[in-house]
Symmetry: C3
Subunit: 211 residues, 3 copies
């Protein structure tokens, strides 16, 4: 695949990922009976928050999303759409969850590779890839007054960490960038979808937690 085509593909995937994440954020707002503005804010932070945390931590400010209006229009469109059409969107939830897995797989890879590009070592770069994937949803849940859903047994962060790790490790080889990205993406996506289909749960603490 030629380099420019690859970059265009990445941007398109990125915008799709932001859109789907933003829909999930706006749906939380609607379900908590919050107003239109909350739908837009929760949509925005879910779609863009993970990347913001990464960019602030690696010193890549202002974040890319604040330098390219397409990255701002997409969550606004997702928020408006969700607010006014939440009933049909809610029925598509299983479908959305699959798209959400695509977004997670993309964000963990682009996040990790961007961190490598800013000079981070492999271990923190993989960690920041995971943060890019899961950070937006965590801010969404905290702003909506909930404990992050990924703390309650959902297998979500581990696939993101796995995909980011694969991308960071392969990036040390001579493989072309798109192979590196595709391998990380496929790792996270297949792991996440498998966890959904099989109903895997993260380990819960055993025994009484003597408070």
């Amino acid at each position: 695949m030629p380099e420019t085509e690859f970059v265009t593909t990445l941007v398109v995937y990125d915008l799709v990922g932001i859109f789907v994440f933003a829909v999930s954020g706006a749906l939380v707002a609607v379900r908590k009976n919050l107003d239109l503005f909350a739908a837009l804010v929760l949509g925005g932070v879910t779609g863009l928050g993970g990347g913001f945390i990464r960019d602030v931590l690696i010193g890549a400010t202002p974040p890319a999303a604040l330098a390219d209006w397409r990255y701002l229009i997409v969550p606004v469109a997702a928020g408006l759409l969700t607010f006014f059409l939440h009933a049909p969107l809610g029925r598509l939830e299983r479908f959305i969850t699959v798209f959400d897995a695509f977004g997670l797989a993309l964000f963990c890879v682009t996040g990790a590779l961007k961190a490598v590009g800013y000079g981070l070592e492999p271990v923190p770069a993989a960690l920041l890839g995971m943060v890019t994937g899961i950070g937006g949803g965590m801010i969404r849940d905290v702003l909506a007054g909930s404990v992050p859903v990924i703390f309650e047994g959902v297998v979500y962060a581990t696939p993101a960490l796995a995909g980011a790790t694969v991308a960071v490790l392969l990036n040390e080889t001579d493989l072309p960038m798109w192979v590196v990205a595709a391998a990380g993406f496929a790792t996270c996506l297949s792991f996440r979808l498998l966890a959904m289909v099989r109903g895997w749960r993260a380990p819960m603490p055993k025994g009484p937690a003597n408070v």
Copy 2:
């Protein structure tokens, strides 16, 4: 108005805005029966938090408030005052809400213009102006264990976005800076006060949110 006088006026308004925001933060602490330290922290983050988020996102670190002790003394004074005199202050609440609108109107304009000064495009600059105005209150509510009040129908963020947008647009013209700032300020303030007087509410989701 000469330039230096204008800057002095801005700093005075800025400190007044921080003071009023800090009072609102400390009042939340008192009403949740939290301790003196909570009143100081919630006062501080409400007064300074929006500017901190903006400065971190545009890379203007350390934030202005950490380089000028007056910006730190004001929220401390507001927090102490509120903690020890919360009963009379609580009775002045309607009065405080009007001052709060002044703070919002000021912060959205200065925030947006600072973002422009750091090279951001008009759309993200207007957005950061809004964030400067509403960010502190959102952190206040999250730290106090509540869903942000501006998610529940209050018309608050839209006036901030309107004021920031007016300032950013007029800033593209040849108008003197103080006219640009005054127009943005007046837009936000009149919009917010009108919303309060008329009891406007933000749109709420319609129909059942099939959870």
Copy 3:
């Protein structure tokens, strides 16, 4: 004490502080019956979050902990240990609280001196020292869905501010760095331990908070 030995001692104390803070974070996850991943995340943010906030605010990005894998391994180890051995660890809680006071005393001093090193004035530097000490625990509580425990009467932030202030003030003198650090450390530690032993409580608001 020779300079290099002093630096090694600081790193060791730093890692011990991170470890103990991370145990406290992971214990919160276990007690809320959250999953293994939550134990790791809450451990990580409790151990590293205060330093992250400081580094982002002073523009020292990427934070030190993202440039040195030892700072990432320690909270992971603490999180795993706590998740699988929470029952015996919970019984050691009083012991942990004493270690936690060591962590607080160390973080407030190193945080304040780092801020001074980045050119901040004494007042904001002392404040950032306090934030370094208390920030991680505040993020922990917010992510776990609670109001920060230090808002409810615990004497915790004041010792951190006192230790940071002593370090910042003595740093203006000709005293060797290790004396400066030791004096700040001792101030915070003795203040915190005394508050624990004597059962001191922070001032609470008086009278009805007319909501």
